[in-house]
């Protein structure tokens, strides 16, 4: 049992940190120089696609290198990648796509020229995703599917060129059967996108209405009726990614720094017993969660699958994200009340409430916490 990284791993860590320091855009450049950053990653030999296999251009990281890479990227708050193409569709394509589909779609994903969105959730199919109703009927000549239905909570649908989409081709058998995985161009006249403004006041999710959209069978991934199998593996993957533990470490440090600037009596808010204790309780759990992620990594490095403790990462990680965002509104005090662009009160207070409200989604999307607990109880603890 050894907590230290090997010399090789430390050298790799050094390399990653140096790269970040040399290439990371600062301040407002975060938004304007995004593309340059991803190009620099690409130029390193697949650092933009750290999880891809070597044959598709991935960098071939060991599990420990992957962890170090993710850790340093998070620690330095590098710009997040939009996950739908690179992270979500690509693995499915690589595993289940035809040679033709791979040749057609992978390049646009690889160079970031094509934006994808994920058409899974529906008004009646959220946590219970297999309940989806969007209908895809095969034409008589078997050349296309006619798709009708509604998707919702579709992140970035309004800037996407394509959607990968779960549709129902049969209602026989279990809900999980009869689901088919289709790729749909967003510029089809039957596709209509309407914005949803969320609690935090922002527009990133949408409703997508599909009316008589004709999707050629060549846009179907794998077999008809097997879509659930293809998508399922990824859902699990999506969940661990949502723990955002390193982001929380940064966010908590920021929250503490902000609270130190808020005058409260003789000292700062960080001297106020109730606030201080909440910070402490949270930080202790975060320390523990951070190391839980390492335990998971260590098992994967040792060639075992992730152990049962990996199941807690999303559950606890999102809870901690939310508690940090609560600290921020508490620290903002009366300045948690102003809304909108006018700068009122301390800088951090401006985004505190919208961050808190927007963050309520983390325990709902990607498997609501209640559903996560059902799953852990059943699959890990053998309950019911």
């Amino acid at each position: 049992m050894d907590i230290e990284f090997s010399q090789d791993d430390l050298a790799f860590q050094q390399k990653v940190v140096s790269f970040i320091k040399a290439n990371l855009p600062r301040g407002m450049e975060m938004w304007t120089k995004r593309n340059e950053w991803f190009q620099a990653l690409r130029d390193q030999g697949g650092w933009d696609i750290p999880k891809w296999p070597v044959e598709y251009g991935g960098p071939g990281f060991t599990p420990t290198q992957r962890y170090i890479f993710d850790l340093e990227m998070a620690r330095h708050a590098t710009p997040p990648q939009i996950p739908f193409g690179v992270g979500m569709l690509a693995p499915i394509l690589m595993n289940y796509g035809s040679k033709q589909q791979i040749d057609r779609f992978m390049p646009g994903i690889r160079d970031g020229s094509v934006n994808w969105c994920q058409g899974y959730s529906e008004p009646g199919a959220g946590s219970d995703l297999a309940n989806l109703k969007t209908k895809a009927e095969l034409s008589e000549d078997g050349s296309y599917y006619l798709v009708n239905g509604q998707k919702t909570w579709t992140t970035l649908a309004h800037i996407a060129h394509w959607m990968f989409c779960l549709t129902r081709t049969s209602s026989a058998g279990a809900k999980q059967e009869g689901i088919t995985f289709l790729l749909i161009p967003m510029d089809d006249p039957g596709v209509e996108t309407r914005p949803i403004i969320t609690l935090g006041g922002s527009h990133s999710v949408n409703e997508v209405y599909l009316t008589d959209v004709k999707v050629p069978v060549t846009n179907r991934i794998g077999e008809e009726g097997k879509g659930w199998t293809y998508a399922k593996g990824l859902l699990v993957h999506e969940r661990t990614g949502l723990a955002g533990i390193q982001n929380s470490v940064l966010a908590l440090e920021k929250a503490k720094a902000n609270a130190r600037e808020i005058k409260a009596g003789e000292g700062s808010l960080m001297d106020l017993p109730s606030f201080k204790n909440k910070v402490g309780a949270l930080e202790a759990e975060l320390l523990a969660l951070e190391f839980t992620e390492l335990r998971t990594l260590s098992q994967v490095s040792a060639g075992q699958g992730p152990g049962p403790e990996s199941s807690i990462l999303k559950l606890k990680g999102t809870e901690i994200q939310q508690r940090i965002s609560e600290l921020n509104i508490e620290a903002a005090g009366i300045y948690a009340a102003p809304w909108g662009a006018t700068p009122i009160g301390p800088d951090f207070a401006r985004g505190a409430t919208s961050g808190y409200l927007g963050g309520r989604a983390t325990t709902i999307y990607g498997g609501a916490s209640e559903v996560q607990k059902d799953v852990i109880a059943k699959n890990v603890l053998g309950l019911g």
């Binding site: 946590s127 909570w153 403004i197 609690l199 509104i329 948690a336 809304w339 909108g340 009122i344």
Partner: protein
Amino acid sequence: MDLSLTNEQQLLQDSIRKFISTQYSLSERNKFIKEDQGYDSSNWQQFADLGWLAMTFSEEYGGLGGSTVDSMIMLEEFGKRLVVEPFLSTVVLFGAAIELAGTPQQKQSLIPSIIEGKLIGTFAYAEPVEPNNLSAIQTRATAEDSGFALNGSKSLVFNAISADKILLSARTSGEDFDEQGISLFIVDAQATGLTRTDYLTVDGLSASELQLKNVRVESDDLLGSLGSAGGLIQSLVNKGILGLAAEAIGTMEVLYKSTIEYTKQRQQFDHALADFQVLKHRMTDMFVDYNLVKSLCMKATMLEALGAAEAQRNIHALKYLVGKTGRFIGQNAVQLHGGMGMTEELAIAHYFKRLLVIDAQFGNTDHHLNKFVG
């Protein structure tokens, strides 16, 4: 001891319930906040006509002689429909200040106008340096000629955009954080040297930051005695807290009840959400916590109305619980509404936001817990 409503109180409650059920749907409310002054003037005139604005003023100046208990009854109902008219600013804070400390002349010139719905007032007490500390007053009132010149700034002044008069704390002596040396002034909202930065708050209401540069007030604009307004400010803050708490009770009731309704309708995994034991217990917790806050709100309000010394402790405990429970109920209303709870469209989003703003005012959860434990 009798905690049921008197006949008069029952009538008051009924009249408000009738008003909001016929004239105050949430979509109408969301139109009212878009009007220039942030609320609907004809509603305000109706409040006056129905006698609601008169309720808590003494009979001598045209009021109905009610107490904080009557405010509570009204605000609880307002909270159920997120009523945006400036009742708290004008009646509970500004009006009460005049009633408590005004000279006969001040009362005569202001209270009847409030009661008639002709005068909107508000209360500017917080300053950026330490908004929760009522003694952290850096705004200075310098005596000159027969009056004072005011210089400084105020934060989060609700309804300043529509106010005719602003009650404003300023330092007439002492150092920045001294408890003594603070005075209250009735300032004309249009006074020269007074500039506003207006903004909306999270819940869609209007508030402003105020800058004062040599704003001139006369000596008869002073409210109460010179340099010792601390006690009066604390009393007003207490009234503000009680008012917000009553509103929050109404708001929380709607949230927990509509969550129950939603989960009965919404199907997931072939069952109504309401069939899941974990969600049932969560809603039971919401119900339990709601009832605890409601109890403490009633108690603190009645103690304040009696002028009992123990009111202060209860008010600190109350504001703490209002914040904590408001967040618990709001968060779980959103969580149990699932994705739907995340949309701006749905009513619960507005109710939740209102609770967040209520927590932020007059010192939040943390602040009052620390005050309560001393």
